[in-house]
Symmetry: C2
Subunit: 354 residues, 2 copies
């Protein structure tokens, strides 16, 4: 089917179907440096493949000297590297846009941090021997389906330069355990700093290309497009964002918050895939003050921050705003794009203090 | 706030907020006997508490001879029991009702099966020494919030007879690992056969009562009520239900399925908390035939079933229907109740064969 246009109308059954399948991070779980495995956010385009790991092979081919077919044991025998990496869905925040693009209707919960273990991609590319003339490396998953009329295996490419960065991993463990099916078992790509669509799950094939990859997920989806005709710029690095843990306790249905008066420690996380976080401001009723930053957990992981607030009875609005070392700051008004990609508008949390 | 009435109107922002927090089982994951931990469905009323396990104690009191305060080590040192148990949210299927009760808008994905390990509750009750006159045992969690204007800690009770059934566990492991926070760490109640609200998470207190517990989650929520004034009957055992794994592959947005012509093995799961599953019928375009049942996995776990279908090109509708040994079968037309509890209408899956 052709995509329905963005709308100011009510939520559709298609959006509900996606919301009940996919999984956000309940924001109180921002309290953990490493997101518990079962709480990690999840966006799956098609079905989660159930892969027989003993029969599975990763094929490496295309413009290479030696095509490879690697078993999971082969990959686990290679040099091992572990990294703490924050992933965020490129569509996070989409459901707050006006008009609202029709797709997975994230509010602001599509982010998590895990400890990923795998082997550097560079070593595998070296073993295959990338031939001159190679411009991109494409990564193909076992997941298959239709999107906007285009039937395809999920696939994304990186420029040869990006693929050869030392931090890019072929990951087989998450938080010290083998990947569960929904996170790409037995093997997924991990490109620290980039939005979630990059980290191809259920990886089955890697190919060196002498021309740019033109697959659906590269040239149609995941672009910053003004309108349906615009080719747009590619979605890549994660834009800076801060989120706070809603303080106090919730109402089940409305999720409105009740907070006890007095000193309240507002805590949250901030991250950017482009440059390190250097500043977080906390807002109370529109007045911004600098929050205290925690120690960095690593170059590609979110950073804790906190802010002491003397809560007085009444209605208040809390918010937060991150700035990275490249000078990128969150917008108060979100620039709009037709697929709702790369949103990082400031979160606002109304609370009642009593 | 007072609950909004059931509606034929569009989905509300409150329902979306709940759907992005809570988590359904993607139906292709019905292929696993034991649901991978991170795919287990999740319904959390308030916030997920972050509990310091070293400071945590389970208090056992009320109408007992000896009040107890047990550490997690105390509980882990007690007799150990493991059971495969299917849990289902009592609100599963709510969003398909007409009119639609406004709450967590499940379609039909709020079910999963895990291997739970813990110690029998009966032993703990014996050690505390239940005094004569006890009629119910109440279980109180660390989660706190407001529901329909009522502020409370989440709590549910069992009759003394139900609490003393041998299969009731105080569970501290799921699939062989300590509970993750979202599943009730460090300890939760497990009452095999009952809907999910019974299995109180983040358990901190057990009390023997000489009168029936009148808490919100017992007497207001989780009742089969015709209207807001009706006290209703309590929601308890899981009604029989079968679900099938949608065959073929999906369209991302609509989740509509494309299936290759020829022999297709339709597979699924069926369960009932009331009595063992004795029959599953598979429907193709309204024609019902008996499916083949797999071996039972245990008295409180779902049962696999399969059905061979010769798929011919065109549009078809697949469905399935479970019957248990007590003669309970799924309704084709779902009886309605104002909170949308205990739904088990027949699933229908339209597919396009090509």
């Amino acid at each position: 089917m052709i995509a329905p246009p963005p709308t100011e109308g009510p939520l559709t059954i298609e959006e509900l179907q996606l919301a009940t399948r996919n999984r956000g991070l309940p924001l109180e779980a921002l309290c953990y440096d490493v997101t518990p495995g079962g709480l990690h956010y999840l966006l799956v385009h098609f079905d989660i493949p159930a892969i027989d790991q003993s029969a599975w092979r990763l094929s490496v081919g295309g413009n290479v000297r030696r095509a490879l077919a690697l078993s999971l044991d082969d990959i686990r025998a290679r040099p091992r590297r572990t990294a703490l990496v924050t992933l965020e869905c490129a569509g996070n925040g989409r459901a707050r846009l006006h008009p609202r693009p029709i797709s997975q209707p994230w509010l602001n919960e599509a982010v998590s941090t895990a400890e990923w273990t795998g082997t550097p991609l560079t070593g595998v590319l070296e073993d295959a021997g990338i031939e001159p003339g190679t411009v991109e490396i494409v990564f193909v998953g076992a997941d298959h389906g239709i999107e906007k009329g285009c039937e395809h295996d999920y696939a994304r490419s990186l420029s040869l330069d990006d693929a050869q960065r030392s931090q890019v991993l072929l990951a087989y463990e998450m938080n010290g355990r083998p990947l569960e099916p929904q996170h790409g078992a037995p093997l997924r790509l991990l490109v620290p700093g980039w939005y979630g669509m990059t980290h191809v799950k259920w990886l089955v094939r890697i190919e060196a290309l002498t021309e740019a990859f033109e697959g659906y997920q590269q040239t149609v989806a995941y672009r910053y497009k003004r309108d349906a005709e615009d080719r747009g710029d590619p979605v890549q690095g994660i834009r800076p964002r801060a989120l706070l843990i809603p303080p106090g306790f919730p109402d089940f249905l409305t999720r409105s918050r009740t907070v006890a008066r007095g000193r309240v420690e507002i805590r949250g996380r901030a991250w950017s895939g482009i440059a390190p976080i250097v500043r977080v401001e906390a807002g109370v009723d529109g007045i911004w003050r600098d929050a205290v930053l925690g120690e960095p957990l690593g170059p590609f992981a979110w950073r804790a921050w906190s802010f002491g607030w003397d809560a007085t009875p009444g209605e208040h609005v809390l918010s937060c705003r991150a700035t990275d070392a490249a000078g990128n700051a969150q917008p108060v008004e979100q620039p709009w794009n037709i697929q709702g990609m790369g949103n990082n508008a400031v979160q606002t949390v109304p609370v009642t203090v009593r």
